[in-house]
Symmetry: C2
Subunit: 380 residues, 2 copies
């Protein structure tokens, strides 16, 4: 294309970084100039440094690909790279979710590109398509399955009647779940992905901690049995709607009508949807994690930078409150003791658990905070 | 962005063209300079001409958006626009499928951009994502539901036990099927979409008539009953695989395992997937037709042209034969008379129809050409 070679400094060469390294090695239009690594990496054919300032001070480096993960030292590296006028590509959802406004503003100030396509949806071209759609019309809604670990566990429990612990162990053996799976199970991982997606989709800045989240730690095989008896499929769903002056955003298990697309997502796959006024609902499905799918999205960002794409996905940064009080749904609840609040709302008693008449997301999540339980919304 | 205003000549201002007109009217970065229309259009605020040569000779026109449909005069207009050095955007699958090589070469020769994103998948960002993926790795396979009319009919027959004729009438009333629905029902429409998709995905030029196709004209309510008894869902599936030296490409009804994604596609929606070596399977779901979804994809092409995107989705134009003999599947067949060929292959007799042991696509389609029947492959 006659464009100049893109020179990349790769921070971290583990699972994802290693995939990026392999992909770039096969290309003519970009090259890995440096790998930042604490230990020697004689197997790599590029310069390996342990001191980030070497990369920072090399004017030949066009783009810094951050594949270290975690907050420290990734945050400092990304900040200083942007300040040094280098483009930054990262798969780090923790970092982007926590410092969204600062990093977007920093990229803008220094006229460099910031991309994080692999931070949400792994190998699904989600953020790039969100950006494309925004070129044309406002997004009213986003939702979907954004975490492969919980989907794998739910899928196993549905298909084999496995106990929760058994399904989790299986996920760990397959490398789909971390040794400490808490941020997957409690929805923390999904919340970061939802805050990034909603911020871009709606041109706002949400506070991560404002987004209501209920995980699957308390899920039992009997809940899945109850779900199946209702002819439904239990999925972990993240949702955000752009409302007047606020955003509804929450994450919770949902008993999905089996005809819904989300119900058919197997194993550790992800499915994410956007809704626009004219285009209706568009969904994107694929591998939500893994070395190559994630590296694929990182490399798409590199290709976009090479093609001259500028800035971040959006430059709108409006502070918006989260308010889930207008979203109302029937819920399944299993708890030890049916208290007065529940009693008043029960419309059906199951072998295990009850079905409530429609209750707001705000109310349901608030009640669940105070009571040991498992709950899931019913969605059609 | 400091880019110059994109000046568009819109050929045809009907369903899709009218949608494009509305979308562009709301934008600052592009403008409709002309509408080509045989009749006066006093409601439009741009120049309306009935003589295409006026558009062709106006050097101010950057891009011609062809929304007339059909072969004549669209073919001549598109050719002459490319030859005059104007970018061309079209939703015309008939035209692109039939004159693929010539039009791609013409765009290349005159250094202009040719896009047809709305020709496949209506409002789904399918071809653009195919192109993005190709920036990184070869596509090994594409498949999916590419026709909303047949999906609507199949969905209605599944959900309401409607007869074929009843479901077709309903689709016509809703505007999902043409007065003459034959090219939807016989798979001709899908074949055009598959040839365009496969050509782009595999960098080849397939002959449309080489692609095996079996439609749903002979489908009866009893086939859907048989499908449901097998716990499956009947869908019209287009498939293409990149093989060694050839391409397998065919379109046929399929009894899908109900866990598959395609099984959950309701109404007139489409779902199209690609498979790459590293990224695995990615799927794209959305409205496959309709004024605004289709206009949306046309406008995405306009945005891409404004952003400086060049050429066609691919510039590889290798002639490739179609060979379906290596693709082997079990089939459901309903026919009046079980002949020797069938007899030898039957593994199960149903109330209506039989299940065959795995047979090649080539054999199955060849047999069906000679025998009144309905058939569907069984896919898991």
């Amino acid at each position: 294309m006659g464009r100049k070679l893109l020179r990349i400094a790769l921070l971290g060469c583990g699972t994802v970084g290693g995939g990026v390294y392999e992909f770039v090695r096969d290309r003519q239009d970009m090259v890995i100039s440096y790998v930042l690594s604490r230990r020697p990496r004689p197997e790599l054919s590029c310069k390996v440094v342990s001191d980030f300032s070497v990369i920072l001070s090399d004017p030949e480096v066009d783009v810094v690909v951050e594949a270290i993960g975690g907050m420290d030292p990734a945050y400092e590296y990304v900040r200083s790279a942007l300040e040094a006028g280098k483009h930054v590509i990262t798969a780090n959802k923790l970092l982007i979710a926590a410092h969204y406004r600062e990093l977007v503003e920093l990229a803008d100030k220094h006229h460099v590109t910031l991309r994080c396509s692999a931070a949400v949806g792994g190998g699904i071209p989600w953020l790039a398509n969100l950006e494309r759609t925004l070129e044309q019309e406002p997004i009213t809604r986003i939702s979907g399955i954004m975490n492969g670990t919980t989907n794998y566990i739910l899928d196993r429990m549905h298909c084999s009647d496995a106990a929760f612990e058994e399904a989790l162990l299986e996920a760990q053996h397959l490398g789909y779940a971390e040794a400490d799976p808490s941020s997957d199970l409690n929805g923390g991982d999904i919340r970061r992905k939802l805050v990034i997606s909603a911020n871009i989709a709606f041109g706002c800045v949400l506070r991560e901690e404002d987004i209501a989240v209920f995980g699957i730690e308390s899920l039992r095989a009997e809940d899945i049995q109850a779900c199946k008896k209702l002819g439904r499929v239990c999925k972990m769903i993240a949702s955000a709607r752009n409302l007047d002056g606020c955003v509804a955003a929450y994450i919770e298990p949902a008993f999905m009508n089996s005809q819904l697309h989300e119900a058919a997502v197997p194993l550790n796959f992800n499915l994410i949807s956007l809704t626009g006024e004219h285009i209706g609902k568009q969904s994107f499905y694929g591998q939500g994690a893994g070395r190559y799918p994630t590296a694929y999205n990182v490399l798409q960002d590199c290709v976009d930078v090479r093609n001259g794409l500028q800035g971040f996905y959006t430059n709108k940064l409006e502070d918006r409150p989260v308010d889930n009080s207008s979203v109302v749904r029937p819920y399944y609840v299993r708890t030890e003791r049916v208290d007065e609040w529940l009693q008043k709302r029960v419309v059906k008693i199951l072998d295990c658990g009850v079905i409530l008449k429609p209750v707001s997301v705000t109310e349901m999540h608030a009640w669940a905070k105070e009571h040991p339980c498992f709950f899931a919304s019913l969605r059609d």
